[in-house]
């Protein structure tokens, strides 16, 4: 296990292993998302309170939690980069920010759209939506900081420090927003997260969509990280080989 992890810190190994893993991951993700979405959209009974609208929860809930997980992952990578100077970790961390941001955007959009018929307005300062919004700001901050630095390593380190500071804050932010929400609104009786109270036949598909979306998240991270490897390691011999091989194959189309 440790050895395997250790090998993953080498860009070459990561590139090869992720390349081999990719078809399986894509297959599994397609299967999970396919089953989950069809099941969730067409085969589960409507919710007694929210009608068919609750089906949005199948994507909203996993998107929000994966986005948060993405921030934690970014912070772990940041720590690995700062402490052990693993360059691979910085490449993954770099990939995390835009992916995490799109996932927060997805959670926000689905939450707002769900809110229109439920609350009569597309935005309410609901605890989950608010903390997701701040999560998005955190991702934007990391991306802005990285793009402001010219030097790749300095930018990576700066982002690592920022994400570590952020990750200490994330639970505090979440807690503070929840506390604030109960103080000012009273718990809104209808929140998207309430779907958990439903019977198993309703939340079973969520299981599939959740894991499917997680698989997709991994794919998105891996795709970006592989690009980053090719760019940063372009002087390495093996990358040269990979590049010339791909160039030969793609010469016609590129």
């Amino acid at each position: 296990m440790w050895q395997w992890l250790y090998k993953l810190t080498s860009p070459k190994w990561f590139y090869t292993i992720s390349g081999q893993l990719m078809p399986w991951l894509v297959g599994l993700t397609t299967f999970l998302l396919g089953v989950g979405l069809i099941w969730g959209l067409a085969f589960t009974p409507p919710d007694y309170q929210m009608g068919e609208n609750y089906r949005i929860a199948y994507i909203h809930v996993p998107a929000a939690s994966i986005a948060m997980g993405c921030y934690y992952m970014m912070a772990i990578m940041a720590a690995a980069f700062l402490i052990w100077r693993i360059k691979m970790a910085d490449m993954v961390a770099k990939a995390c920010a835009p992916v995490g941001m799109t996932f927060t955007a997805l959670a926000l959009f689905t939450g707002s759209v769900w809110g229109i018929p439920t609350w009569g307005t597309w935005w309410i300062w609901d605890a989950r939506l608010t903390s997701t919004l701040i999560m998005m700001f955190l991702f934007i901050g990391v991306m802005a900081l990285r793009s402001a630095y010219d030097s790749e390593t300095a930018g990576g380190k700066a982002c690592a420090v920022l994400s570590l500071v952020g990750v200490v804050n994330v639970p505090i932010i979440k807690y503070s927003v929840e506390w604030w929400n109960t103080l000012h609104q009273g718990a809104s009786s209808l929140s998207l997260s309430n779907t958990a109270a439903n019977p198993p036949e309703i939340w079973m598909p969520a299981f599939f969509v959740g894991f499917g979306l997680f698989g997709f998240y991994l794919i998105a991270i891996i795709l970006r990280t592989r690009n980053e490897i090719l760019i940063r390691e372009r002087k390495a011999e093996w990358v040269g080989e990979v590049l010339s091989a791909t160039l030969l194959v793609n010469q016609g189309e590129v």
Binding site: L82, I134, F137, L138, I140, G141, A144, L145, A148, Y149, A154, K157, A158, V161, L162, L164, V165, G166, V168, N169, I172, I173, Y175, S176, V177, W179, W180, L183
Partner: protein, 221 residues
């Protein structure tokens, strides 16, 4: 600790020799607070509702805007390099620096806040909790702002970037800070919330200087 005293002395001397750095954030606070009644109307009832929030948000922005003077000149004249190469414990030097910065930029806000809070019709029982929450909360803001400043001091276009980086991190302080005043106005206990803010301050004091040191090393290299 000789170095802590020396650093406090140096920073306070510099601050008092360039008083703009002290006065401008304060003026920003005063003017921005005065703009609110002009923008939302002078209805006492309504002002009372928003007073704590307005004071807190403007204080937060004022602290953030004052951050630039913390490391900028040291970065430009090379003092930051000497600081990082000091054999003395950096943690305490940085803490002393941030502390003196708070003394000249945060403390005046805390002192002025009750005046402007009463102008915004904040009832009397809210004044002391407001001051207490600012007293514990603004040092947290300064510490977090210092992290952001340390990360961006080496960049040429850093003004708005700093806001993007640290304003989201200010959320808990804002929430609990205004929460203290709200609780007081609703005759609820404030001790718990103040303790919570205090815990956050301790956390910030113990961790933020480490992040600041790491960030300064990146900015200087």
């Amino acid at each position: 600790m000789n170095i802590v005293k020396a650093t406090l002395r140096r920073e306070l001397l510099i601050a008092f020799r360039s008083p703009g750095d002290i006065i401008n954030p304060l003026m920003f606070f005063v003017i921005a607070v005065s703009l609110f009644p002009l923008g939302v109307g002078a209805d006492q009832e309504f002002l009372r509702e928003i007073a704590a929030g307005v004071i807190w948000v403007t204080a937060l922005l004022a602290v953030m805007l004052s951050m630039d003077s913390l490391f900028r000149s040291d970065y430009e004249d090379g003092s930051l390099e000497q600081l990082l190469l000091s054999p003395q414990p950096l943690y305490f030097i940085i803490l002393a620096k941030v502390c003196s910065h708070w003394l000249v930029s945060g403390l005046p806000l805390v002192i002025l806040a009750p005046v402007f809070a009463s102008m915004l019709a904040l009832p009397e029982q809210g004044l002391f909790p407001l001051v207490a929450s600012l007293l514990i909360g603004t040092p947290i803001l300064t510490l977090l702002g210092a992290v952001g400043m340390a990360l961006t001091v080496g960049l040429s276009r850093s003004g708005l970037l700093l806001a993007v980086l640290i304003l989201p991190l200010y959320v808990p302080v804002l929430v609990f800070g205004t929460g203290v005043v709200d609780s007081a106005l609703n005759s609820l206990g404030t001790a718990g919330l103040l303790a919570l803010l205090g815990a956050m301050l301790i956390l910030a004091i113990s961790l933020a200087p480490l992040a600041i040191i790491a960030a300064l090393r990146i900015s200087v290299s």
